[in-house]
């Protein structure tokens, strides 16, 4: 019953979205008040899709196996919370989540756009409506979560065990908030093109939206990385997997966008470039969806190969990207840019930032798409290895990180004379080099890469914290102190991330060995004693649990329980659960391999120094982004709530 309501509501939402897209002359025949019709339909979309989404959740909780989607993604023995999260664990449900989030952003855009010109606002909301319509059509015709089974199975196939996890409950919604948030920025950019203008106030209006999307994207990517680390049992945090790349490319472009928007807002520069970045950011998130959903890439994210889905998204991608680029090339010359600027200015450094970020994006795009193209053309089957990304990406990012440490304070300081800045640069450089060299003493395995990572960390944090203290004492109202606190935190987050990533990649210890019960393995100043192994019954699996005693300098510090699980309801699929002792300075990580002989097992034991800094840094970026939005909102109430 509830599934019929869901289906019905989806159709209503589809009709509602098409009202948004219909042009003014047609709608004016139906209603006298075109403006308020657009405003109310754009708000109505969200509650409609929300009801449909809740229907699907209720159907999952009630084990309604008459629905195809539920019988292939849930099971009566599945724990309650995973039944709820299973709603968006498969393809159909995650597309419904996508539509829900899109309608949510449309709702927000409709609520908070009063400060925009009416004409602009209506066009902007219509474009959002067009995107809603496209994705709802995709949902209804190729991936309807409310599709019925021909015969009702007694029990469901169960959720993929890898996805039965806390990380999965929050990773997709956060990532989608970011992906789809970019649709606001995209629609806004296209409206600017249609209106032949990009005013300063508009740039100020759109920046918080770009920042919010960026923060969500950062959080989503970080959660995905964290999940892969503890759930896949490999102990890695980033694989340059095409699916990861698909989320990383929009992130890089959005990072460029939030920087170029500052220039747009303050100097009326880079307007066309910013519009192009907005189009690129959303196009790349659509491309990501296409790659992941079409089944071209095989991963945990692609649930089934269905050519119709791929074809639909490809068509939609062509219309959206092709259409917006056509409008861009036709209309962008009409938007007047202020292009003269000094070499030694904030604008030119933002330009360098943008060039580096876009270059990095294209190297990743090449590595992701080139093998696919060759394969589609039937020429050769290749893949691009991790060494490519490391060799190409790191040299591009190093100058960017160096800039991030100095540029913000260079242009925030009140004293603008070049001599003072040069002296300051030399002084801080000396201090940072001294501190980096001093840090060598703390590492047992030190090489040039680590030195560079430590240098960048100290460089960024020293300069930014120095500037923060400086501003605190100089500012009388304490207002200036707070206005850039978000930016400060985000850049510190970058520094922390770089420190963690370089140390863990250069100093980690990974052992794959055979251990007999009672034996002890030593890594650095830690000893791992394989104590025992036992079997037990889980709610929907059979488990084997090992017990390891962990000693640090001969003192028992903790016990670790790595597991192997067999999910009977899922074709006896085996799963590895890692035993992890997390810590700020190191993670200790054990996974079980396989039974070698009687009481001998193969195991992986990892020592991962400072790996937590990777996600800590990402979290700092997220909070920095959110703080920026909040502080902007507070200082200039007109900008958002208008």
């Amino acid at each position: 019953m509830i599934s019929y309501i869901g289906s019905f509501i989806i159709l209503i939402a589809l009709l509602n979205a098409s009202l948004l897209v219909l042009s003014k002359p047609i709608l004016s025949k139906i209603t006298s008040d075109y403006d308020s019709l657009i405003l109310s339909t754009s708000k109505l979309q969200f509650p409609l899709v929300l009801i449909a989404f809740i229907c699907l959740i209720v159907a999952f909780v009630n084990d309604d196996f008459s629905l195809k989607y539920i019988s292939s993604n849930s099971n009566s023995a599945l724990p309650f919370f995973y039944k709820i999260s299973a709603t968006w664990a498969g393809h159909e449900g995650s597309m419904l989540l996508w539509c829900l989030i899109l309608s949510f952003w449309t709702f927000m855009a409709s609520m908070y756009s009063k400060s925009l010109d009416t004409q602009f606002r209506l066009k902007f909301l219509s474009i959002m409506g067009f995107l809603n319509l496209g994705f709802l059509l995709f949902l209804v015709f190729t991936s309807n979560p409310f599709e019925k089974n021909i015969s009702i199975p007694i029990d469901g196939k169960d959720l993929n065990p890898l996805l039965q996890d806390f990380g999965l409950i929050i990773h997709p919604p956060m990532l989608y908030m970011g992906y789809v948030g970019l649709s606001v920025v995209f629609s806004f950019a296209v409206t600017c093109l249609l209106q032949h203008d990009f005013k300063k106030e508009w740039a100020k209006w759109i920046r918080p939206w770009a920042l919010m999307s960026w923060s969500f994207l950062t959080l989503g990517i970080a959660l995905g990385s964290w999940w892969a680390y503890y759930e896949l049992g490999w102990g890695g945090w980033w694989f340059w997997d095409p699916v990861e790349n698909a989320s990383f490319m929009p992130w890089l472009i959005t990072t460029a966008l939030i920087h170029s928007l500052i220039t747009c807002e303050q100097k009326s520069m880079f307007k066309n470039w910013t519009i192009l970045l907005s189009i690129m950011a959303f196009s790349l998130s659509l491309l990501g969806t296409f790659l992941v959903r079409s089944g071209i890439l095989i991963s945990v994210h692609s649930f089934a190969n269905d050519p119709a889905r791929g074809a639909f998204i490809l068509l939609f991608l062509t219309i959206v990207v092709g259409g917006s680029l056509l409008i861009y090339f036709k209309n962008s010359p009409k938007i007047k840019d202020n292009i003269s600027f000094d070499f030694f200015s904030r604008e030119s450094f933002f330009l360098i930032n943008n060039i580096l970020l876009v270059t990095a994006t294209f190297t990743i795009l090449l590595g992701t798409m080139y093998p696919l193209l060759l394969d589609l053309l039937g020429l050769e089957k290749i893949s691009v290895g991790v060494p490519y990304y490391n060799a190409v990406f790191l040299p591009i990012m190093t100058p960017l990180a160096l800039l991030a440490g100095y540029i913000p304070i260079l242009f925030l300081s009140k004293r603008k004379d070049k001599k003072y800045m040069l002296n300051h640069l030399l002084a801080s450089l000396l201090v940072v080099i001294f501190l980096s060299l001093l840090s060598i003493a703390f590492f047992d395995n030190f090489n040039l890469n680590v030195l560079l990572g430590v240098f960048i960390f100290i460089w960024i944090s020293f300069n930014i914290i120095y500037d923060l203290i400086n501003r605190y004492y100089l500012s009388k109202t304490k207002n200036i102190f707070f206005t850039n606190i978000g930016m400060t935190l985000a850049h510190l987050g970058l520094a922390v991330f770089i420190l963690g990533a370089t140390i863990v990649e250069n100093n980690k210890v990974e052992k794959e060995i055979v251990v007999k019960i009672g034996e002890t393995i030593e890594i650095k100043n830690y000893a791992f004693k394989f104590k025992s192994i036992s079997e037990y019954d889980g709610p929907n699996y059979l488990g084997v649990k090992a017990k390891f005693l962990v000693y640090e300098n001969n003192n028992l510090i903790t016990e670790l329980y790595p597991e192997k699980r067999i999910y009977a309801s899922n074709n006896n699929m085996p799963m590895t659960e890692a035993g992890i002792d997390p810590g700020l300075s190191r993670d200790l990580y054990i996974t079980l391999g396989s039974l070698i002989n009687d009481d001998v097992w193969s195991v992986r034991i990892y020592h991962k120094p400072f790996i937590r800094l990777i996600w800590l840094g990402a979290l700092m970026m997220v909070f920095g982004g959110v703080l920026s939005v909040l502080s902007k909102r507070k200082s200039k109430p007109v900008a958002l709530s208008g």
Partner: protein
């Protein structure tokens, strides 16, 4: 120096550095491509010599030999025409079974044995890696419900 000569130097400098960067980029890209070959192609000698590449096939029933004292394993993979022996030191993925499609990254030794650096297997017995599927010419077989256990896909 005159402003014009300065500008010419500037442009020449940029052009030279751009072409160096481009050259290095293409070189890196080419060096890091991993080719995929089937056992038949390898037997026919069609593979990049002295380079790491990937080979795929079905693990032949009854060929898996596990060491009793270490993580060494030996097995053979086939495309139902030719067979290649694989040697690997490490922990096999959870879903590695005989009769299952696998993709392996490594180097071919002069002894004709393929020394694996990484073994990739996929969840679900109905699943075949797409490369393996192509080389087996069994395209009608449905691919269902796959899982990320590896980094390449």
């Amino acid at each position: 120096m005159k402003k014009r000569t300065l500008r010419i130097y500037y442009v020449v400098f940029i052009l030279i550095s751009l072409s160096i960067i481009f050259f290095l980029f293409i070189k890196t890209f080419n060096e890091n491509l991993l080719f995929y070959r089937s056992p038949s192609q390898i037997t026919a000698g069609e593979f990049p010599k002295d380079y790491i590449f990937r080979v795929g096939g079905v693990v032949l029933d009854g060929t898996l030999i596990k060491s009793k004292t270490s993580t060494n394993v030996k097995f053979s993979i086939t495309d139902y025409e030719k067979t290649i022996d694989i040697s690997y030191n490490g922990i096999l993925p959870d879903l590695f079974r005989e009769g299952q499609g696998v993709v392996i990254r490594g180097k071919l030794g002069t002894d004709g044995i393929f020394y694996a650096e990484e073994v990739l297997a996929k969840h679900d017995e109905t699943y075949m890696p797409p490369e393996v599927l192509d080389s087996l010419k069994m395209k009608e077989k449905t691919i269902e419900d796959t899982t990320k256990s590896m980094n390449i896909y």
